[in-house]
């Protein structure tokens, strides 16, 4: 099953060439392209082998070969060299970007929205980014305040300065003293806890202690649970959906509709969000080629995702969606840089 060195080189040449041109590549091209100094006939023989082994395929007889998913996979795993040379200029470019991003940014959301746009412009693929998850972040501060007769405002601050709030209806207005008491109760009990740590016995104890205001406490806790619960919170921003249309193999009406539709219906993207199952390269990068994708509607694409991590355990996912023949090297490199630098930018703006 292993490929000898020559076959590897030929496969690599095929993939590289196809990434560049998007056209099936023939034996003659390879014969000239590589330093192997082999005639096209020899290449043809090797190609026949490679096809038999499933690394490349022919769109039709008498066409050149294109990489199969398996071929891309081998390329990505074994042959892709990191572009150290490019790294410097990329660093610089991203430094510029940082300045650009910081300007006028004062909320994480805005930062991420800008980031995802920059990434889309940079790569010419579609991009997505999820707001950080914070299930495991701890409660820092809770406050109830009476806003109107029958309305209580509940504000919740989590580690990482995530603020959630909700207006809760109450039957009868509360006096200041009652509210003060409740605040003390809530803070002393819940501060420093994560959602997972707020369990049933705790809840019943608190509702007990709250006496008359038992139902209110209950409502507050519900509000917290709801506020903190992942699916209500994770937002996904996308950008560059129209980049899809730049690639003929994706731009026919049916595929484009499916893809752009998926990007629009952000919920469908959640399965791309860092399930952090093993398959990454040790630096939080994951590559899904074709059918490997967890999002069915993207089976004609490749998806590259990276997990970024801000301080305070805030963690999210950033991803690039493009044709299978995307420039994996560049994308991976860019994502790594983005991921590394996101933290910096974030620190500067907070």
């Amino acid at each position: 099953m292993e490929l000898d060195e020559r076959k590897m080189k030929i496969l690599q040449a095929i993939v590289k060439n196809y990434l560049e041109t998007g056209e099936p590549v023939g034996s003659r091209t390879i014969s000239k392209y590589t330093d192997l100094n082999l005639s096209s006939a020899t290449i043809r023989n090797e190609m026949a082998d490679l096809e038999e082994q499933g690394y490349i395929l022919q769109p039709h007889t008498s066409a050149g070969r294109i990489p199969s998913d398996k071929g891309y996979r081998l390329y990505v795993d074994e042959m892709m060299r990191e572009r150290e040379t490019l790294l410097d200029s990329k660093e610089k470019q991203l430094d510029d970007m940082k300045d650009f991003l910081i300007e006028k940014v004062d909320r994480v959301e805005t930062l991420l929205q800008n980031m995802v746009k920059v990434l889309a412009n940079n790569t010419n693929y579609a991009t997505m980014i999820s707001t950080p998850q914070f299930q495991n972040n701890r409660v820092k501060f809770i406050q109830l305040s009476s806003v109107e007769e029958d309305q209580v405002l509940c504000v919740l601050v989590l580690e990482g300065n995530i603020i959630k709030n909700k207006i809760i209806k109450v039957e009868e207005s509360l006096n200041n003293e009652a509210i003060l008491k409740l605040n003390i109760l809530l803070n002393s009990t819940l501060n420093g806890l994560t959602l997972d740590e707020i369990n049933l016995s705790m809840i019943s104890r608190m509702t007990g202690q709250a006496g008359e205001q038992g139902t209110l406490v209950r409502n507050v806790l519900d509000a917290i649970a709801e506020a903190i619960h992942s699916e209500n919170n994770m937002e996904i921003y996308t950008s560059g959906a129209t980049n899809i249309l730049k690639y003929p193999e994706l731009s026919d009406s049916e595929k484009a509709t499916r893809l752009i539709g998926t990007l629009e219906e952000k919920k469908l993207l959640t399965s791309l969000i860092s399930d952090s199952n093993g398959e990454d390269d040790g630096r939080g990068i994951q590559i899904y080629i074709g059918d490997e994708t967890p999002v069915q509607s993207m089976k004609d694409c490749s998806v590259v995702t990276a997990t970024y991590e801000l301080e305070d355990g805030l963690r999210g996912t950033i991803g690039v969606i493009g044709p299978k023949r995307m420039d994996y090297e560049k994308v991976v490199e860019t994502l790594k840089t983005v991921k590394d630098q996101l933290d910096d930018v974030y620190k500067k703006i907070t």
Copy 2:
């Protein structure tokens, strides 16, 4: 410049037919289609006149005619009958929708997001909706709380239960008493005011009264100003962007990219938001045909917008973007219903 009745009828027939088929319509079709009982030759003569007057045009010689922007405009202004007959079923349909929407909706944002999706599915065009504006809403409640040594949380509640918050850095930690005082000062001064009413002299007086905490008050006021300022607040949700691809006249790569890109880059849509300049039909409906649009990139489309109004003076815009040959009647009818009912749904969920 006025058209006689017969020409009107012919134009109307052309537009209607073109809306249905999307194909240029010829004289023979009209001759049979209308109850005018005129031969195709006569129709041809009239068509020649209509073309000369700019109401219709020929894609090429030996093709039928299609309406020009001017033709559409006349149709929309003068010929479009409201479909009273359909109204009943539409009402019902929207009632169903209401139930669907209320389920699990507990924030206005979610309501609007669902609404815009339903609208897109219903019409088969692209849709947009803006979150309500609240420049003129009054301050209901302000509260500062010390969250950490150097961080103060500022919560602002406006009429309509719009909540804004921001964490403000301070030099030195504030004791409870100081915060209490500030809260009283802020509330007593600002409650019941709109942003416009918070003027310079008021600010300087307050910073004076705040003594040591002058800068903090300044920061709080800045935060309010920023929170309340329109461009930071208005969000626009879109849906059904891919519906664009259903219409051949818009689905070529270039146009589609431009349009979907515009929908993605929501900021570009702000000029569609209820500048409420006169040109509406008295019920908050506006129709932009082709070049009439304030958004340059949509000059190949028509856009229909409606202003909706929730209670408490919350007001936003909902819009439909489609090909010029969109079904204006249906769209206008649907928008009217949505606009009327949005308020109801909103009341139910709050």
